[in-house]
Amino acid sequence: MSLDPNRMIELGAEVVSRAQKQGATIAECTVQDGAHLSAKVRLGEPELVEEAASRSVGLRVMIGQKVAVTYTSDLTPGGLARLIEDALELAQLSQPDPFAGGPELSQLSKTSEHPDLDLFDPAVDGVDAAEAIRRALLAEKAAMGHDPRITNTEGATFTRVSGMGALVTSGGFRGATRGTYASIVVNPVVDDEGGKKRSGYYWSSRRYLADLEGEEAVGVEAARRTLRKLGARKVDSQEVPVIFDPDAARSILGLVASCVHGGAIWRRSSYLLDRLGSEVASKLVTIIDDPLLVRAPGSRPYDGEGLLSRRNVIVEQGELKSYQLDTYSAKKLGMKSTANASRGSSGGVGVGSTNFHLLPGSQAPGEIIRSTKKGLYVTSMMGFGFNAVTGDFSRGASGFWIEDGELTFPVSEVTISLNLDQLLKRIDAVGNDLDPKTSVAAPTFRVSSMTLAGR
């Protein structure tokens, strides 16, 4: 029973108007409606088929400068009445925040200005359970058929998701967006020496079904990535150059994103505080946040407060150009919103990145490896060892040992450490292999020296 965009906007408008009548100075309502299907197979048999539709309403109100947020999946008349009543009651409990408020009305975008970013593929919703199972089976079979050593898997899963969201604010903003994703992942497991097993995976995810990598290709790549881990071992502790493959590089870039968010800045919780206009990375580093990329995972026509989406340069050739701000954090810092408000389905507003990319350099990843005499090529990291306040970074890593420009043997159970400020400044090579399949994305890059702790 899905709602159409007009009906969602109507519902949002009704909630906003009732909240205003009951005393809200500002009311902003989001309505979400989504459906998903996921089919997981294992060893050639279906293991889990999950299918559901879900919807919810989130509300943020202000009475003067007192703020409250409510959320419900109970869309019955009683559920909606309580959503509004609770919000107003809680707002009375909050205390006036001089910086609270919505964006200036002149900043709000109009529906006619919202670009079509081609985020919705009707074919995605057309995949039924049988077809999803078929695709997952193909992918798993390709992985298992690739090499006789692959006798077990954690399964292969095909997932489709489609969602619509509407935002209505008492400031007059009305917008609705919709989007789809399809993804496929395969997770083989192989036996290694000493009773250990090695688990690996590969996945593809796209807005459009037809843009997905083929099931066989995903399965074969998953098999390759799992087999190459066989025999992984520790190496001695030392200072070495470290190359991050795009998966590991993306995870470093995610840390950078968390440190340029306005909330982290005004809370004095980021090592990048007071660093605008200064050098924060090597000249090879340019980072952008671009919500306008067609068919990209993090794209959106307007931000969580209704401001028109725009591309922002965060770091340009090593210099910190901009933080990422919503209206609130911009006011706190005496700056202007960068249209990076992100409204969670729960109704609350914070800062969020969109497509946050380290722009590609000119070198092929193979060239970067070949030009490294000795070092660690990192393909995955583990743990949460990052302190945004100081930039201190220390995480578990696994990957491959580089000797004379060649990947030699797999490495696991080591950590790599270096303060993020130093890490970004020591980037001395950036690859040309940016894959925007994730909203935070980075190409291969090399850090000239990090501390590796192992044996």
């Binding site: 029973m1 048999e45 279906p46 293991e47 889990l48 088929v49 999950e50 559901a52 539709a53 879900s54 919807r55 919810s56 409250a68 947020v69 409510t70 959320y71 419900t72 999946s73 109970d74 869309l75 309580r82 959503l83 919000a87 809680l90 409990l93 909050s94 205390q95 925040d97 359970a129 077990n152 954690e154 097993k197 090695r198 688990s199 502790s237 200072e239 809370r267 004095r268 919780s269 090592y271 505080l273 583990m382 743990g383 949460f384 060892g385 302190n387 306040v389 100081t390 201190d392 220390s394 578990g396 159970e413 080591v414 950590t415 790599i416 450490s417 501390t451 702790a453 192992g454 044996r455």
Partner: protein, 485 residues
């Protein structure tokens, strides 16, 4: 139909409960299960869930925002052999529920052979009979608790430049009906309080935090005051201002009591969840009866700890958990089971089948994972270390189930030199291999402590509240991920 073992929220009541607007009766359950099994599924269950939660965030000396969320829904699961069909719905009208049952039924293809049993409601333990639910208490009381933490943190030291404190509360009501005739209700409160501060001195900046809670009401604060958490956060931030670079490489490591239980959770807990062993993807596969840790180690998963964050009266499949011994004096005794894995291993379910919400299928999950006390004096343990690291607080951890490699990140640690705790160290990761590290537990303190932490465990995208605990323990060699070679 069902009896309520804990105080009911006065304002937030599950519509499907016996006090609700539209109570679900055995007849409705029978109808839905009949549809769920109409295609020949061998087992089905219905999971009704209602959750009301509140959050209060105090920041810069004011209650900046208050929030509330109410969710409800039904998850329908149908099993046929090892295959599961799952569907959920948020609209609890009979038609919508029937459609969900129909969708889940499609995992099987055949004819039904189910006859409805007489539904029985088993009596449950009462592990969190909270007298007054936090949700029912006036908002100003909760604001006052946050104010107290804020005030104490600011007064404590002039180097504290920022304080934020938050309180969140939840009441989760579940009603579980199984095709083998169980009809179980439980009502699970959860409270969480935390304080975070930033200290600045001479251009250096550090944070400190403290938090706690459990399946409790505001009486939690009778045992541990907001001021206590504020002072603890301040202490931590100030200690960290003086932190030096941590060493890199293999060292002797002493883990302090309580929080370090995260090691057990990562190093052995996940690998002993029976789904991984059923699928033979865990490094503990086929090792029941074998030595997997030093003989000092006895590890239990204990859902019975009253009022604890990981406690449950009943799991999310209707099975009542008890205290399960996983490792006894170093020997692996058994896994943590959900219904599916228990069937596979032909063993009783251990009541570890948990799910994040009605939107998710159950899996074997931990509750409170504990390493029991040993016989050593904690001070003696520290004195026995020539050069090593003392770990007292952790930020979290992660494990690769397939080979047991795990990390956990240290947020407060110290150097041990000549048997004495000396300089504080910057946050680092510790990395090791679960089975290897458990064999290197060479001393175990007599000071077993349950962490008052606010741990949340993630698996396959599902988060559930858990607890950890352990005594002081010494590990003969663990890789410390610092920067000083």
């Amino acid at each position: 139909m069902t009896s309520y073992s804990v105080a009911m929220a006065t304002r937030y009541v599950a519509p499907f409960g016996s006090q609700g607007a539209e109570p679900v009766d055995p007849e409705t359950v029978r109808k839905l299960l009949t549809i769920a099994l109409s295609k020949g599924g061998s087992y089905a269950d219905l999971f009704f869930e209602y959750s009301a939660s509140g959050s209060y965030s105090y920041d810069e000396g004011i209650l900046k925002s208050a929030g509330r969320a109410v969710t409800l829904g039904l998850g329908v699961r149908v099993m046929k052999g090892d295959a599961t069909g799952y569907a959920y719905v948020e609209d609890l009208s009979l038609d919508a529920m029937k459609r969900a049952a129909q969708t889940a039924a499609n995992i099987a293809s055949g004819a039904t052979h189910w006859t409805a049993p007489q539904f029985v409601t088993p009596s449950l333990a009462s592990r969190y009979a909270v007298r007054e639910l936090s949700l029912d208490m006036p908002g100003v009381d909760k604001r006052a608790l946050l104010e107290r933490a804020d005030k104490r943190a600011r007064e404590k030291d002039s180097r504290i430049v920022r304080v934020d404190a938050s309180l969140s509360e939840e009441l989760r009501e579940v009603l579980i009906a199984t095709s083998d005739g169980k009809l179980v209700h439980d009502s699970q409160p959860l409270l969480r309080f935390s304080v975070r501060v930033i200290a600045e001195e001479n251009g250096k900046r550090q944070s400190g935090s403290s938090g706690g809670g459990g399946r409790m009401g505001l009486d939690y604060f009778d045992g541990r005051s907001p001021e206590w958490h504020a002072e603890e956060a301040v202490r931590q931030a100030l200690v960290m201002l003086g932190a030096r670079e941590a060493p890199a490489g293999e060292l002797e490591v002493v883990l302090g009591p309580g929080d370090s239980g995260i090691l057990l959770h990562e190093a052995v807990g996940h690998g002993l969840e029976a789904d991984f062993n059923r699928k033979r993807t865990s490094n503990y596969t086929d090792q029941v009866g074998q030595r997997v840790a030093s003989d000092l180690c006895t590890v239990v998963d204990d859902a019975t700890l009253a009022f604890s964050r990981g406690a449950v009266n009943v799991d999310d499949e209707g099975n009542a958990p008890e205290r399960a011994v996983l490792i006894e004096q170093g020997i692996l005794r058994g896994y943590m089971h959900d219904r599916h894995s228990a069937d596979f291993f032909r063993t009783p379910a251990t009541g570890n089948g948990r799910r994040e919400s009605f939107k998710s299928h159950p899996m074997p999950r931990m509750t409170n994972t504990l390493l029991l006390a040993g016989g050593d004096d904690p001070e003696e343990i520290i004195r026995s270390v020539k050069r090593g690291v003392y770990a007292s607080h952790f930020g979290g951890g992660q494990v690769d189930i397939s080979n047991g490699d795990f990390v956990f990140s240290l947020t407060e640690g110290y150097l041990i030199e000549d048997g004495k705790i000396t300089a504080p160290l910057k946050g680092v990761n510790l990395i090791g291999n679960g089975p290897e590290v458990m064999r290197k537990v060479v001393m175990l303190g007599n000071d077993m402590k349950i962490s008052d932490g606010i741990w949340t465990c993630g698996k396959d995208g599902q988060s559930v509240p858990v607890g950890v605990g352990c005594p002081t323990m010494k590990i003969s060699a663990l890789t410390v991920g610092g920067t000083e070679l």
